[in-house]
């Protein structure tokens, strides 16, 4: 202890100095008590003391026993509470609470906006307890909507480019001018061609509204981000069951199997994570495949840090264990898998099996027996031992065996999920989804409580008042002939197609999309965006600045979650619901009796919403109706008049949502008023095994006929005859595969004599053997049935002795979302940098430690980033999180200074493109005092620029995993954030992957571009499917 003398010296020192603070110590701590009396700070000063709500919150009982309280809906119109910002003063404020829907990921969780009744400012966003998906809970991204609403750097007015693209000079224009000019360009294009307008969406955030508009314009103009996100998984699921997303019922599962943590850290994070925890609390085992120790992996019962690309082998080893031990749900497989078609394929030599006994049995038997199929499975998958899987995956064999045991005892309650991970990471990743769902098939966990459903079974999309007819055109820039099975548009290759001269675009809308930043090979995008011949007009619809918008011609500010109308539904659990996004200030103003014509009158600045914008733009495009467009935007209630947004949703809620009118009437509300009040409606609950439902679309008499044994027997005979004579059946029929046909179209399937609806595949059953893949150019066993495909980052392709490593560039953080987080200060304070994860053994080899700079060379260039040494990543693999590394080119304009680097671009004629960082994030002055408190500088490195494109030849997915051809300690000349790319190399690697494709020109069995049964976001008429005579490259 310090001696007394030391203390006395201290006291003497203090006495000799000036007072430590400018204020005398007695000036503080003696204020007056402040009761919540009416004062000038109150928002109702003339009314005196506000009467407080009884603070009797609405009790929401969760299944796991937790109780959460919310303001009761009958108090939402006038809710009073203290202003947290005024703390420690107690200032009471009155709010009107308006429900809306979060727009920060695709989950569509409910939000409740607290709108100040005096100022109409949005005070905060909390959870909406009436929302069936999120149940009042939100992740960090929900409340951060407030940051985005009040982001000092957001774009508040329509802007038009001045000077050359990318000069960064803009002028403010009116909405009227924007509508006039853009609509004229669209009209001109539409009169010339049907594929000149392209709407390229990153995050739809709605169900079908914009697609209806595009269809009404009569163009094939929809483009998406799907092929850098989920195309691999979608393809895998589609080949099995005709649906393109899984919907696991985590709450009731006994085993939850996750391929990566993407689901729980990406979108669907909040609604799914809460249900995974509920499942876990009830005893479910969690199994996570991930080379990275994610938060999810750390909470799992089994973590399988497998080498990327080995997932299918592990899954098939588990399948093999179930098969060899006869430990699978044979009754489900017998009823619902296309085993007859599969055995027929073996008979016909389409599927080769090295088992003479089975071949002989099939040839010697007139009837196909399920026992043969059982034998087939045993022969096919015998090679997938635990030992082989452990060897390929580089994980302990015991852990795979343990996983198999859990799966074997799941009792039909296996909830599985894969999305933007292995299935989008690897060449052939679509087979990961297929192998994963194979386990659902084998355990009978399909659409069951605790099992995995199709997304469409748990999602509800109501029909609008009038639907335009399908288009008549096929846009080759979206779905070219090389990828007939792609899911879906080859969006990330758009600039490569333009560079090759496959076409050009008259009017390009990018919407909630930052293609140059988010896609691989961003510099090729930059080149395309700069080319005014290839992209003649670029309109960026965005609520905030982004790197691509910098190179647009128009920037049109569109609202955040509380500033727009949208209708959404998502497959969050085994039920169906809709949720209504609303411009909350507008709704608050209308509740107060104020008239609002368009949402931009109520939003900050002149921020608008797409719904009203599309209506007005379409009307401007076809003012006299001569293009046939205007009719789709006329009111169903006021003939000839342009529809209002209220009318659009009024019609849907009154006519297309079963149960809603009745529910609203019970509260003496119109359906629209009900949705404006609650923001959500539960359509169905516990929607299990819908494929077992009786076939729909037939009258009672037809149903009786189908169930008649005599009819069935006769149909078998007729079916054989029709096949031989190649006659299309008329009326109601059953074909030789037991499909129920009506007017030639399959509408269901006979299962054990019962006419059931089945699933949306050609066979109406789950397809183990895919006739589609066989017929469309992929006849090998590794394609037609669930089978591993050798990834482009297989260990055989990564020579670690030469310094090569595998770069895992696409894991996500639960607090950020793509490129839309850089206007949310709270989220960026939590996570803002993306160092390279590296295992200590690799760090030792490279002689680097945490914080050192490393240079990662890819196939087309390199980047420089800091390293983070951790045992949480597999040796040989390096990983970087998605989302980060945002940049801007001017100090005072562009992406928010606290969340982006100031950068400079250098492009030369030889194709060398460089991005260098001038400085990192910095504080700045604005109306928001928090912007002066930015304390971080490192906001990450833009790695995607250095990624070569890897289009999978089947699914069309960009295979995100990158081969890092060299990883070294950075040299003295290297700076954090440096990026350099040779775009000539970009095009060369692109061509290498194009060479893997099998064009529909060579493989199509029917002269079409794509199987008719497979999904497309907007399906054109059948005639448009016909292959062109001379497509590009032919």
């Amino acid at each position: 202890m310090t001696t007394k003398n030391n203390v006395l010296n201290l006291l003497s020192t203090m006495l000799a100095m000036d007072a430590p603070a400018t204020r005398d110590v007695t000036d503080e701590n003696n204020g007056l008590d402040r009761a919540p009396v009416a004062r000038e700070e109150n928002n109702k000063p003339v009314l005196g003391l506000p009467s407080f709500s009884d603070t009797e919150m609405i009790p929401v009982r969760q299944e796991d026993g937790r109780l959460t309280n919310y303001p009761p809906p009958d108090k939402w119109d006038d809710w009073v509470e203290y202003d947290g910002k005024a703390w420690p003063k107690k200032v009471a404020r009155r709010y009107t609470l308006v429900p809306t829907v979060c727009f920060n990921c695709e989950s569509a969780c409910g939000l409740l906006a607290y709108v100040d009744k005096e100022t109409y400012e949005v005070k905060k966003f909390e959870g909406n307890p009436a929302h069936p998906g999120s149940r009042g809970r939100n992740c960090a991204k929900g409340p951060a909507t407030h940051n985005q609403t009040y982001d000092p750097e957001r774009i508040l007015y329509p802007l038009k480019r001045v000077g050359k693209r990318g000069d960064g000079r803009w002028k403010r224009i009116t909405w009227h001018q924007a509508l006039d000019e853009i609509a004229q360009k669209m009209r001109h294009s539409r009169k010339q061609r049907r594929d000149g307008i392209m709407y390229h969406v990153g995050r739809p955030g709605e169900d079908g509204y914009t697609n209806r508009c595009i269809t009404a314009w009569g163009v094939d103009g929809h483009n998406s981000h799907t092929n850098i996100c989920s195309a691999g998984a979608r393809a895998g699921y589609s080949f099995w069951g005709g649906f393109d997303r899984p919907s696991p019922d985590h709450t009731n599962a006994r085993v939850i199997m996750l391929i990566s943590s993407h689901l729980e850290t990406g979108h669907y994070f909040n609604p799914h994570a809460q249900r995974i925890i509920e499942g876990k609390m009830k005893g479910a085992k969690i199994i996570t495949f991930d080379p990275r120790l994610s938060n999810t992996a750390s909470m799992s019962d089994v973590w399988l840090p497998c080498w990327p690309g080995s997932e299918s082998t592990i899954l098939l080893a588990i399948a093999n264990y179930l098969i060899q031990n006869d430990h699978y749900d044979k009754e489900f497989v017998r009823r619902w898998v296309n085993w007859q078609d599969t055995l027929q394929a073996v008979r016909q030599g389409k599927l080769t099996v090295d088992d003479p006994d089975l071949q002989a049995a099939l040839e010697g038997s007139s009837a196909l027996k399920f026992e043969h199929f059982e034998q087939l499975l045993k022969v096919l998958y015998a090679e997938f031992t635990f030992e082989r899987a452990a060897d390929e995956a580089q994980v302990p064999v015991e852990r795979i065996r343990e996983t198999a045991e859990y799966v074997a005892h799941c009792d039909g309650k296996l909830a599985t999920h894969t999305w933007r991970s292995a299935s989008i990471g690897n060449l052939g990743g679509w087979q990961v989804a297929r192998c994963l769902f194979f386990l659902n098939i084998l355990t009978g966990s399909v659409g069951t409580p605790g099992g995995t459903s199709a997304n469409s079974w748990n999602k509800f999309v109501p029909k609008p008042f009038k639907t335009p007819p399908p288009g008549e055109t096929w846009n080759e820039l979206n779905l070219p002939h090389e990828w007939p099975l792609a899911h879906y548009e080859m969006s990330f290759l758009l600039p490569h197609f333009l560079e090759e001269g496959r076409g050009e675009i008259d009017v390009y809308f990018s919407r909630v999309y930052n293609p140059m930043w988010i896609n691989p090979d961003g510099f090729v995008w930059l080149k395309a965006l700069l080319d005014e011949e290839k992209i003649k007009t670029h309109v960026a619809l965005t609520p905030t600045w982004n790197e691509s918008a910098w190179f647009a011609d128009y920037i049109l500010p569109m609202g955040h979650a509380g500033e727009r109308h949208d209708l959404m539904s998502q497959e969050t659990h085994a039920g169906q619901w809709i949720a209504f996004r609303q411009p909350v200030r507008r709704v608050a103003l209308e509740r107060a009796g104020k008239q609002v014509r368009f949402s931009h009158e109520a939003n900050p600045g002149e921020v608008w919403e797409e719904n009203e914008f599309w209506i007005q733009l379409s009307a401007h495009m076809d003012p006299d109706g001569s293009l046939g467009i205007r009719q789709w935007f006329e009111s169903p209630y006021r003939p000839g008049e342009i529809i209002t947004i209220d009318e659009y949703y009024q019609w849907i809620f009154e006519n297309s949502v079963p149960g809603l009118p009745e529910k609203a009437a019970a509260e003496k509300l119109t359906p629209l008023a009900y949705m404006r009040k609650y923001g959500a409606f539960e359509v169905t609950r516990d929607n299990y095994v819908p494929y077992e439902k009786p076939v729909a679309g037939i009258v009672e008499e037809e149903a009786k006929k189908l169930e008649s044994f005599t009819f069935q027997l006769a149909e078998v005979a007729r079916g054989i005859a029709r096949e031989v004579l190649e006659i299309e059946p008329k009326g109601l029929a059953i074909d030789s595969s037991n499909r129920i046909l009506k007017a030639g179209q399959p509408i269901g399937v006979m299962i054990d004599g019962e006419p059931l609806v089945g699933v949306n595949t050609p066979s109406r059953k789950f397809e183990f053997f895919s006739q589609t893949l066989y017929e469309w150019g992929w006849p090998e066993k590794e394609h037609t049935v669930p089978w591993p495909l050798k990834s482009h980052v297989h260990p055989d392709h990564i020579d670690r002795g030469k310094g090569e490593m595998l770069l895992l560039p696409n894991f996500r953080l639960p607090t950020l979302i793509h490129t839309r987080s850089a206007n949310a200060k709270w989220l960026y304070e939590i996570s803002h940098k993306n160092p390279v994860w590296m295992h200590p053994s690799d760090a030792t080899r490279l002689n680097v430690g945490t914080g050192d700079l490393i240079k990662v060379e890819t196939e087309i260039g390199y980047f420089v980033d800091k390293v983070w040494v951790t045992e949480g990543i597999k040796p040989g693999v390096i990983a970087m999180s998605h989302h980060l590394g945002r940049w801007r080119l001017q100090e005072n304009t562009g992406v928010n200074p606290g969340m982006s680097n100031l950068a400079q671009l250098e492009l030369d004629e030889q194709g060398n493109y460089k991005l260098n960082i001038i400085h990192g994030a910095s504080a700045w002055d604005s109306f928001d005092p928090d912007t002066s408190r930015i304390w971080w500088k490192d906001v990450g490195v833009h790695q995607n620029l250095t990624h070569a494109v890897h289009p999978d030849p089947v699914s069309g997915a960009h295979c995100w995993l990158q081969k890092a051809v060299n990883v070294t300690k950075a040299g003295p000349e290297d700076k954090h954030g440096d990026v350099q790319v040779d775009i000539n190399r970009s095009m060369a690697v692109y061509q290498e992957w194009v060479d893997l494709t099998r064009s529909a020109m060579d493989t199509s069995p029917d002269g079409n571009r794509r199987p008719l049964w497979m999904k497309r976001p907007l399906k054109p008429v059948v005639e448009a499917y016909k292959l062109p005579e001379q497509p590009f490259g032919r």
Binding site: L8, L15, M17, E28, N29, N30, K89
Partner: protein
Amino acid sequence: MDGNELDSRGQFADQAEDQVLITNVSSLSPSQLAKARGRTYDLLGRLILNGLTAEQLPFVKAIPELAATLPVSFDADEAAADHQQIFGFNVHPHESIFLDPAGLLGGPVAEVVLLDYRQAGFSGQIDSDMADHLGRELRYLALLSDLEAKARTNNLRDVAQRMAGLQRDFLDDHLLRWLPPLTLSIEQESLAFYTALVQLAFDVATVHRADLLAEPAPEFTLPEPPELLTQKDTGLREIAAYLLAPPYSGIYLSRDDIGRLARKHELPRGFGDRQQMLLNLWRSATTYNSLEASLEALQELVSSWHDTYRQMAENPYLRPFVAVWETRAAATMALLAEMRSDLPPLD
């Protein structure tokens, strides 16, 4: 309280009062001493409340004990991060945390502190959550000292005596009761600046108490801990709760302390609140057959606290405040020893 109240008081002999209130100080007059204490408590309080800022840096540089801990160049971001690390994440410097077994802010302990402020005549709005923060308590003493100094300068003897009495009461009833374990807990965190800062506050308060010439305070008591090992439903959760409640265990375990214990045996301890972390640590220790070693390490830690309390108790003015902590630490050592002896032998 304001200047008018002070003006209503009579004068007194400055020199004589110095003899009553202050001894062992020859170079400073009583009013100077009070003023110096006021400034010192104020500076220490501000540093604990807000961390080191550029505004306070010149004062800190003038204090050798603190100056020795400063980095070569001052970085406000780093200083703020250190402050958050120690007081935001690890050691919550509230009297409630150290004296109330519930360990919740704004509870009965804080209410008593608030009541003392009010009884001293302060009607200011002080949130109960913050009333018992160390920084706030130091600044309360700063205020009393400053008022005492002003009273002396103005020859207001009664006021000065009253202010001195309030200081003594507050030291006896509050600050010195929890400064011993707080000082030790900060010392564990290995942030040199804050170790020196809190040690300085402890020393100033100790010397201050001795200078007040009153009798040593009577020993205070802490709430009686539960008889854990005699209750049949006692599990690891209950033991963890006991250890994490300073009035029971005599020690304070921060997140970093638990992390250090885990690292010592290369055990995972997970995330979450302290109780969750400690349970995670023990569960993983059980899995890896390291529970005995882990308990031993914890026992060593408690033993070091116990020894330090014993050393503190050698100061007669500190003894009443430390004796009970020493007793608690000894009981915790015994508890851990008993737990270790009850463990089944390793295979």
